[in-house]
């Protein structure tokens, strides 16, 4: 018995497991994503009914006894006409519903939180915009937003076309070089949601993930103040050495660490790198070991990325990883 039901239940269980989780269209946690989910179910229902109807009519036509053609001529014309009208009405209806659902994805209000997201091969630069220049800050691969407030994203690309897609929160929108796109979402529930580049952008396209952390207004403000602050001052000789190495080797020519002399803009901003859950765009969880592994040999972990291997000996690597892992 169990053997017979397994082939049936296993695929169904596998299908259903895709319906929830931190990266699923069918588990919406924002107003815009809910609208899209309703749209999906509407399309599935309408197309399902159409498919069943067509199949039933087809089976009936195959099973029917043959009758002379002339008897059914006018009836057939009527049926074809009704089918054409039904098709036009259904497609027009779905087009209108779809238009209204997707139009809401780029609407924004004056109180929206403005964030600029720029796609690079293969990571995301995130800039929190503000009318006051001293309130602007840059981070990477992790977006924090307060619950209930509309977020307006300005999407841009630095090199090739990427696509921003956090299925639990909103629709998919391309990041195109030389063009600014907008996308908005209003998160309803606190949580961590995963996004992924949704347009093939090169060798490491699959390793171009980002996280959206939806938190309470208080927690968001606390995080924002933390991000605005300069980097933590190194504690102890090892971290001091790490800072010195970072600023004297090639690291500083690509990466920025606020509060020191490292001010590169080519790679991700590392001022608060250890406060982020992942490094290298969702590749490894952040801890001292993974940072050391990444610095030691980035091309083995993520071949083709633009971070070169900088020659370091063991003690230098130790000091550098101690310094970076303390940048909360």
């Amino acid at each position: 018995m169990a053997n017979r039901t397994l082939p049936l239940t296993l695929p169904i269980a596998l299908l259903c497991s895709g319906c929830t989780g931190w990266q699923s269209v069918l588990d919406p946690h924002a107003i815009q994503a809910s609208r899209l989910e309703q749209l999906i179910w509407l399309f599935v229902a309408v197309c399902g009914v159409v498919w069943v109807t067509v199949t039933v009519v087809l089976v009936m036509a195959l099973l029917r006894r043959k009758t002379p053609y002339s008897h059914t001529d006018t009836r057939m014309t009527r049926i074809v006409r009704a089918a054409v009208i039904a098709t036009v009405v259904i497609i027009t209806g779905l087009a209108i519903v779809s238009f209204y659902a997707t139009r809401g994805l780029s609407s924004s209000d004056a109180t929206a939180l403005e964030i600029r997201v720029r796609g690079y091969q293969w990571w995301w630069e995130v800039t929190y915009l503000d009318a006051r220049a001293d309130q602007v800050f840059i981070t990477a691969n992790e977006i924090h937003v307060p619950v209930g407030r509309t977020v307006s994203l300005q999407l841009a690309a630095a090199d090739v076309i990427h696509s921003f897609w956090v299925p639990n929160l909103t629709g998919k929108q391309d990041l195109i070089p030389g063009r600014d796109n907008t996308l908005s979402f209003t998160p309803r529930e606190i949580g961590v949601y995963r996004g992924q580049c949704a347009e093939f952008c090169g060798l490491q396209h699959a390793h171009m993930a980002l996280l959206v952390v939806v938190e309470s207004a208080g927690a968001f403000e606390h995080w924002r103040q933390g991000q605005l602050a300069p980097a933590a001052t190194p504690r102890g000789g090892e971290q001091e050495t790490g800072k010195h190495l970072f600023e004297s080797k090639a690291c500083a020519s690509c990466h920025n660490i606020q509060g020191g002399t490292a001010s590169g803009t080519v790679g991700p901003d590392l001022t608060h790198v250890a406060s982020r859950r992942y490094i290298a765009s969702g590749l490894l969880e952040t801890n001292r070991g993974s940072i050391a592994a990444w610095v030691a040999d980035p091309q083995t972990l993520k071949p083709g990325n633009n971070m070169p291997r900088v020659a370091l000996d063991a003690s230098e690597l130790n000091a550098l990883s101690a310094y970076l892992a303390a940048l909360q």
């Binding site: 090199d159 070089p177 030389g178 690509c254 091309q299 083995t300 070169p308 900088v310 020659a311």
Partner: protein, 184 residues
């Protein structure tokens, strides 16, 4: 029989067309170290390239991927700031085809790594050896006056000259540009 052989040979060619260049992104540390060991002449103009470079087939001058990485580095490290798009400004031009320290790749490599008098900064501790070679390869394509089989890909941004993967630059003389009226 002959047709069968012909079809077989043709299909072999087609299958061969599916092969891609296998790119090695991870330069082994000893190779990277040996690529740094250029042997310049005492006046630091020209010199011998590392043997590793020759053995590898001069990958930084002949491989399109490396040239393109060099092109990205040219923008990222603000080479434009002094050399513009090759036309020169504060720094010398590359498009002129006149190289102050000679046209050899080794000279360009040394210029980038160690800097030069009159303002060229040293990038030796800002870039890795591989990156300096990539940049060297790209800089040489700007001033090249003969066709190359490899070229970096085009720019997304506007560029003040035709991109490197278009027709090769040639020295245009007035008589080439303005054909004389046919004589009767």
């Amino acid at each position: 029989m002959m047709r069968g052989v012909g079809t077989l040979v043709l299909s072999l060619f087609l299958v061969e067309g599916c092969a891609r260049e296998s790119r090695n992104f991870r330069l082994d540390p000893p190779i990277a170290a040996s690529l740094d060991a250029v042997a310049p002449m005492p006046n630091r103009i020209g010199g011998a390239a590392p043997e590793t470079d020759t053995v590898l087939g001069q990958p930084y001058l002949t491989n399109a991927y490396n040239l393109n990485q060099g092109k990205q580095l040219y923008t990222w490290f603000n080479c434009q700031g002094c050399h513009a798009d090759g036309g020169g400004a504060t720094g010398p031009a590359f498009l002129s085809g006149w190289w102050r320290y000679g046209p050899q790749a080794v000279s360009v490599f040394i210029s980038i790594r160690d800097g030069r008098p009159e303002g060229m900064p040293a990038f030796g501790n800002r870039l890795t050896t591989e990156q300096i070679w990539q940049l060297t390869g790209y800089v040489r394509t700007i001033g090249a006056y003969s066709a190359q089989t490899a070229a970096p890909s085009r720019n997304d941004a506007m560029q003040s000259r035709p991109s490197e993967n278009r027709a090769p630059a040639t020295v245009a003389t007035p008589s080439d540009e303005w054909p004389t009226a046919p004589s009767r």
